[in-house]
């Protein structure tokens, strides 16, 4: 079981490495969106500090969305997906592997980049650490939930926009607890509760989302 998950992850990572421009484009999207906000609302440090958690988290949601349409589309086009669906391993397991690969490619770079961008917003060190931690805990849920949307819109016209319409409302809890964790640190309350709830969301998202995703993929393949 572990072997097949690892095989899927390895394969998806190799494929992603061949299209590094996609990853880099999503990262720059993240950087640009975050950098636009100070230009929009003004450079007052107090205000920026208050906006930072929300801005960084919303930008992270949007950046994750960018790479979601590719999650299954390429495999669908060249017929790999059909073979995976016929494989002896449960499809949900393969989806699980793909979700992890997606997170490694789309989520993890955001985690590493966010503290740097947080400096632009005058965040203190402890807030920066919590920001990175909250993204580390929360972004896997984004990949997991997003996979459901990606599978549902597979091969559907207007897929990209539709995908964001379906997935963004479902991201709201992650956004609330993720940005809330940083917020709580800023106001000196401690982020423990937020981070625990975020962890629960991620566990739920990553371990339960592959099942509806697999079901949606089978429907798309019919």
């Amino acid at each position: 079981m572990l072997v097949s998950i690892r095989a899927v992850i390895g394969r998806d990572l190799r494929l992603a490495m061949r299209r590094q421009s996609d990853i880099i484009a999503a990262l720059f999207f993240f950087i640009i969106v975050v950098s636009l906000f100070p230009l929009g609302v003004g450079p007052e440090a107090d205000q920026l500090r208050r906006l930072a958690p929300g801005v960084l988290w919303v930008a992270a949601l949007l950046a994750t969305m960018l790479s979601l349409p590719r999650l299954f589309a390429d495999d669908h086009r060249d017929g790999t997906l059909e073979q995976l669906a016929l494989a002896p391993q449960p499809l949900a397991l393969i989806v699980f592997g793909k979700v992890i690969a997606h997170w490694l490619v789309a989520g993890l770079p955001l985690v590493l980049l966010a503290p740097v961008l947080g400096i632009q917003f005058d965040l203190a060190n402890d807030a920066l650490a919590i920001l990175a931690l909250s993204l580390l805990i929360g972004t896997p849920a984004l990949s997991g939930i997003g996979a459901i949307g990606a599978a549902l819109t597979l091969g559907v016209r207007g897929g990209g926009v539709l995908l964001s319409l379906l997935v963004l409302p479902l991201y709201i809890p992650v956004l609330i607890f993720g940005a809330g964790a940083v917020d709580a640190t800023l106001s000196g309350l401690g982020a423990q509760a937020h981070l625990s709830l975020l962890g629960a969301l991620t566990l739920g998202g990553v371990f339960f989302a592959p099942w509806p995703t697999a079901a949606a993929l089978r429907i798309a393949l019919e």
């Binding site: 459901i148 549902l152 819109t153 559907v156 016209r157 207007g158 897929g159 539709l162 319409l165 379906l166 963004l168 409302p169 479902l170 709201i172 809890p173 609330i176 607890f177 809330g180 917020d183 709580a184 709830l197 969301l201 509806p212 079901a215 949606a216 429907i219 798309a220 019919e222």
Partner: protein, 249 residues
């Protein structure tokens, strides 16, 4: 017992459900009119003034039923979606797609009447209260469902994809509600709590219940109308549609 099961599956086929729905629709319209008029009469003509909120509170006779309906319809929709996935019946998917626009309508009405209620009561059209925010997200979920179904040409696939989305949504609605509530208590954005109902006289309660029943009947009637159209559209290649339209050779 077995007789009931057979009956159930008999009416689960579009061919038999179509004329049945046609016969039921006028009855549901009549009930909707009776309940609605009775509820509005009590709410707008007979119920006393609320001592805290003045006459403006009468909006709740519209607002609360609309909010209830928007939530119930989502549950019913998800129920049909689930049955459709589990038993692969054609009717279930059609019922789910027939309910979605009506649910979205009530979610919108709930927001609209809520805003018009909020303005005189708290001096603002919108507060980021947990309930209002959840209702807004519910509207988004409806719109996602409708958009997904509209984007898929094959109706069978549209049904199934919509069903998965509706079920995922149903699991998520409580999580969203809880998280929004949590967020709300931390930020204390809304200084007024919607949860504190005005001291409700028995007459007000009856007015609200009757209005809600009227909305129920309305929803059933409209959903049946819509499902009949969907049936004709989807089953247009079958003999029963031809004979219904009087085109039997």
């Amino acid at each position: 017992m077995s007789e009931r099961v057979i009956n159930w599956f008999k009416y689960a086929s579009p061919q038999t459900f179509y004329p049945l729905a046609g016969k039921l629709i006028p009855w549901f319209w009549a009930l909707a009119a009776i309940f609605g008029l009775a509820g509005l009469t009590i709410g707008f003509l007979l119920a006393p003034t609320d001592e805290q909120q003045g006459e403006g509170y009468r909006i709740i006779f519209l607002h609360v039923p609309a909010s209830w309906m928007s939530m119930f319809i989502y549950l019913v929709m998800a129920f049909w979606a689930g049955t459709g996935l589990a038993f692969n019946t054609r009717l279930s998917g059609m019922m789910a797609s027939a309910l979605a626009p009506t649910g979205a309508l009530f979610a919108f009405l709930s927001l609209w009447t809520g805003a018009l209620w909020g303005k005189p009561m708290w001096g603002t059209w919108w507060v980021w209260d947990a309930r209002l925010t959840s209702e807004l997200i519910l509207l988004f979920l409806y719109i996602g469902f409708i958009a997904l179904q509209a984007a898929i040409d094959d109706p069978r696939r549209a049904d199934k994809a919509g069903a998965i989305l509706a079920l995922v949504g149903v699991v998520n609605v409580p999580i969203i509600y809880f998280s929004v509530k949590w967020w709300n208590t931390l930020h204390q954005g809304a200084s007024v709590s919607l949860t504190k109902a005005p001291s409700m006289a028995a007459m007000m309660l009856w007015g609200m219940i009757l209005c809600a029943l009227g909305c129920w009947m309305y929803s059933i009637a409209v959903a049946l109308m819509r499902v009949r159209t969907i049936m004709l559209e989807r089953e247009r290649h079958t003999d029963w549609v031809r004979s219904v339209l009087g085109e039997k050779e």
